[in-house]
């Protein structure tokens, strides 16, 4: 009886996820200057998201310029030919909207969420800075300070964060493009010049290196007209190259210890180099992640938090910490962050995690558990699509990474099609101790009462 109920649920939710009312409308086209445009209409609430994504991130930085992509992102809010300093914020907020920008390993994004009839306002702002960013020394100096303050606030003054941003990438990557610090060093930030900013702008912030996504209460013909008006005559530039992210062959397991003066509870990052985006193994490892850490009945919660009473908090996903399954662009790891009970040693913690993985490698997952994991995955997918902002973000990623924004309507099916045999095979191929990187973060209060640090192994 119970089994029947679960089967019914399974079947009915699948049909819902595929049913016509669930299709996100996607209309995509390209302007003459190469700007890719995606429109998705939803008239339920009079709100629109304008989301601009540029195909450049921290992995495009050059040696001596760590943190530059992020510093540049700050410069994008400092004004342009027709938008004085401060007016970007003022214009969005005084029209009832909100905004932000963020820098990632492989992309940089900017968005405005506004009442729907303010669409032109956001397009005016986004196009003016793409066309004519104001690059001067005063703005640069000021934003260097803001970025350094951001580094102090979000990393240097927080437990665990410095280890994660500066040290973890050096363990899981060996190509400098991927292994350097995304937030950057003060030394590199200080050395950036106005000429560097101008060059980066011309190279990467061109219409042909960007995708513009509009989601919400749109009138499509009107929206197209406005996009052409504001962006149509911004000149294109030579197509910039993606950085060479090839990792050297001959990977070896690595473990390092970081003594953290601000931490009070031990933590650990465990990661394994991951597969190619949207390959069968990518979907399989995404399912592995959901089995291990997805819902309240995930294996980490039931076996490690509850059973072994060792793990206190956990986070994990493909691409952790700076990417996720959606914006994952290889090479990226599958990585796990744990805060754990000080009564457990780091070696015990590592072997408990590896044992959980061994179970996945050695025993096929039973049908009932897999069904539950898939149901959870499906429900969170639907929940995520509620806001225009997250719909825009998904459309932009599928456009940028795959050239197919319409994947927003089919990718869930691909994620759910994973079989028990594929899960076992991917766990065996990727999540083995000989490809593993471990960063042990050991509390080391200034007074010296923390546990003695171990040497690197």
């Amino acid at each position: 009886m119970k089994k029947l109920a679960i089967c019914l649920l399974f079947a009915s939710v699948i049909s819902l996820a595929r049913s016509a009312e669930f299709t996100i409308p996607v209309e995509s086209y390209k302007l003459a200057n190469g700007l890719r445009v995606i429109l998705s209409k939803d008239n339920a609430v009079p709100v629109v998201t304008v989301y601009m994504i540029y195909d450049v991130g921290a992995r495009s930085e050059e040696k001596g310029h760590t943190g530059f992509a992020h510093l540049f992102e700050h410069m994008m809010f400092e004004g342009s030919q027709n938008v004085p300093k401060g007016a970007h914020f003022a214009t969005v907020e005084s029209n009832g909207g909100t905004l932000n920008g963020s820098t990632h390993p492989d992309y940089t994004d900017y968005y405005e969420i506004l009442p729907a009839n303010k669409l032109a306002t956001a397009l005016w702002l986004e196009s003016d800075r793409m066309r004519s960013l104001a690059i001067n020394d005063e703005n640069l100096k000021n934003q260097k300070e803001a970025v350094k303050q951001e580094r102090r606030l979000s990393f240097d003054n927080q437990a665990y964060q410095t280890a994660i941003v500066d040290v973890w990438p050096t363990l899981i990557f060996r190509n400098w493009q991927s292994s350097h610090s995304l937030i950057g060093s003060f030394e590199d930030l200080n050395s950036s010049s106005v000429a560097d900013v101008s060059k980066f702008f011309k190279t990467y912030y061109a219409p042909n290196n960007a995708v513009l996504v509009l989601v919400g209460d749109l009138q499509i013909p009107e929206a197209k007209k406005l996009v052409e008006t504001y962006f149509g005559n911004i000149p294109s530039q030579p197509q910039p190259k993606r950085p060479d992210l090839t990792e050297p062959a001959g990977l070896q397991a690595r473990t390092e210890t970081y003594k953290d003066p601000l931490a009070r509870v031990p933590a650990m990052v465990i990661g394994y180099p991951g597969p190619k985006r949207r390959s069968p193994d990518y979907y399989a490892l995404n399912m592995v992640d959901a089995i291990l850490t997805g819902g309240d009945s995930s294996r980490f919660r039931l076996d490690l938090v509850k059973g072994k009473k060792s793990v206190i908090q956990y986070e994990a996903n493909l691409g952790w910490p700076f990417a996720n399954a959606l914006d994952y662009r290889d090479p990226e790891p599958y990585a796990i962050f744990l805060l754990y009970n000080p009564a457990v040693t780091p070696d015990q913690m590592i072997s408990q995690v590896q044992n959980e993985i061994a179970k996945l490698q050695n025993e096929p997952i039973d049908a009932k558990e897999l069904e539950r994991v898939k149901t959870t995955m499906r429900a969170s997918w639907i929940k995520e699509l509620q806001s225009s902002h997250s719909r825009a973000l998904e459309l932009a990623q599928y456009a940028l990474a795959d050239g197919k924004p319409e994947l927003i309507n089919t990718e869930l099916d691909a994620m759910l099609a994973v079989t028990p045999a594929q899960i076992q095979a991917a766990a065996k191929k990727y999540l083995t101790a000989d490809r593993r990187a471990v960063l042990e973060i050991v509390p080391a209060p200034a007074g010296g009462s923390g546990p003695a640090a171990k040497e690197d192994r």
Binding site: N95, N157, A263
Partner: protein, 466 residues
């Protein structure tokens, strides 16, 4: 023929528009549109359980909130953290379900179910795909009525809460919020924001069940359902079946939460090794039911909400002292507080603190210019719309109405009331609540680096972070 020429005309007009746009000025756009909330249906079961139903058919999901007036302000003096522990442990075992069964059942319906305690309320939140709603409600009723607080789950909760508290206490923002709250609220039950190591040690199944038995009663609760709902009569029958026999209880009187009169105090929480100083400057403020609430909301927004606020423009963009500078106006049911929050590098603590005081004084001494006021009213009206985009957003707004005891038309009239605020009203409330003479000042940082600078502002109490 006619339609064809119209089409040509339309295309020509489009091209004309594209050529003549004036890029030097922001586009002219219509005023922020009004938005009618989906209808809110309210009723009560005979035992007093409030029921609020909102049909939102866009997605096949339902968001559920069961709200009790039973938050951390009801924690006994020697047991801070009790409400929070009850909320967390309700879903860790009932008379007929283990913790594991509850989590497996929840996940099997693609749902979620968990309890959270705020200052005034304990809320059990859930969500599910629509066709599993009755299963989620069954589970919700079970954890509400039959939680057993199993000893091993309580022990694990205590063990992990102690470690989490140690981790929280390593964060400067936590230390600053904790100390400012104690300073503003004094002996009021609103003063504590977390448990202590000692109080966690005192938790046991009996004390948890005691709190549950006292406060979790139908006449103290409202059940909110938002989403694609089944037919109303059947849904009400379902809720009645599950919760109808739940007996009413005599509820204890709410504690006196009146905060002490505000006064200037400067506290430096010494956190050796800090590379920044976290500054929190604040005091008690009026609740949402006060006539001062809307003028102060608008004034507070001008001062410190968003990237166009005065604090962001001056402390960050002009001076480069900080990455973040904002205000927090936190309204509880029976009291509220208003604070400036910023984190500055050690060397500039003195000018930064002076700049904060200057901004606060200016709100009281000078009327807000008309265009700045209009901009902020637009901002608040637009943000209101943005918050209603998701089921969760609307649920949170409606839950706040229950928690704070606000009138039913609060959301409908919000924008109108924001729009009606005048500069004179803002200046009047700024003199009462924003002028900094009686503000408490809490700084978390390395006393050996910033102590002398902080002492320039008056007598300083220095306490250790650990």
């Amino acid at each position: 023929m006619l339609s064809r020429s119209l089409l040509v005309f339309a295309v020509a007009a489009l091209e004309l528009a594209a050529q003549t746009v004036d890029r030097t000025k922001p586009p002219q756009t219509p005023p922020i549109p009004s938005y009618k909330l989906p209808p809110v249906y309210e009723t009560k079961l005979p035992n007093g359980l409030g029921l609020v139903l909102v049909e939102d058919a866009r997605f096949p999901l339902v968001t559920v909130r069961l709200n009790f007036r039973a938050g951390t302000k009801f924690d006994p003096k020697d047991l801070p953290g009790l409400a929070e522990a009850v909320a967390s442990l309700l879903t860790e075992g009932t008379k007929t379900r283990t913790s594991r069964q509850i989590s497996e059942e929840t996940d099997a319906m693609g749902g979620s179910l968990n309890g959270v305690a705020g200052a005034d309320s304990l809320t059990i939140s859930g969500s599910t795909v629509s066709e599993s709603l009755s299963r989620l409600l069954t589970l919700l009723a079970d954890v509400t009525l039959n939680a057993t607080f199993p000893q091993d789950e309580v022990d694990l909760y205590k063990q992990n809460r102690i470690q989490n508290l140690r981790a929280e206490r390593a964060e400067p923002a936590f230390l600053a919020t904790e100390k400012l709250s104690e300073t503003i609220y004094g002996s009021s039950p609103y003063a504590h924001i977390s448990p202590t190591m000692e109080s966690i040690g005192k938790l046991d199944p009996k004390v948890l069940a005691g709190f549950r038995d006292t406060f979790l009663a139908p006449n103290n609760a409202t059940l909110l359902l938002i989403g694609r709902l089944p037919a109303r009569a059947g849904l009400i029958d379902n809720v009645t079946q599950l919760f109808g026999a739940w007996p009413q209880k005599q509820l204890p009187a709410a504690p006196d939460v009146t905060p002490p009169a505000p006064r200037r105090q400067i506290v430096l929480v010494d956190r050796p090794g800090s590379v920044q100083a976290d500054i929190h400057v604040g005091r008690s403020a009026p609740t949402r039911l006060s006539p001062d609430y809307f003028p102060l909301t608008v004034g507070n927004s001008i001062l410190g909400s968003g990237a166009n606020s005065r604090l962001f423009r001056n402390i960050r963009e002009k001076e480069g002292f900080a990455y973040d500078a904002h205000t927090e106006y936190i309204t509880k049911r029976d009291a509220a507080d208003l604070a400036v929050v910023t984190q500055v590098r050690n060397e500039v603590i003195e000018p930064a603190l002076r700049a904060v005081f200057t901004e606060l004084e200016s709100m009281a001494s000078t009327p807000v210019p008309a265009d700045e006021l209009t901009n902020t009213k637009n901002y608040l009206s637009g943000i209101y719309l943005l918050r209603l985009e998701t089921q969760d957003g609307l649920a949170t707004q409606l839950n706040t109405i229950q928690t704070l005891g606000l009138p039913n038309n609060y959301l409908e009239t919000y924008t109108t009331r924001v729009r009606s605020v005048e500069p004179g009203q803002i200046q009047a409330v700024a003199k009462k609540y924003i002028a900094p003479e009686q503000d408490a000042v809490v700084v978390v940082g390395d006393a050996s680096k910033i102590g002398d600078a902080v002492k320039k502002f008056g007598a300083v109490t220095i306490i250790q972070a650990e």
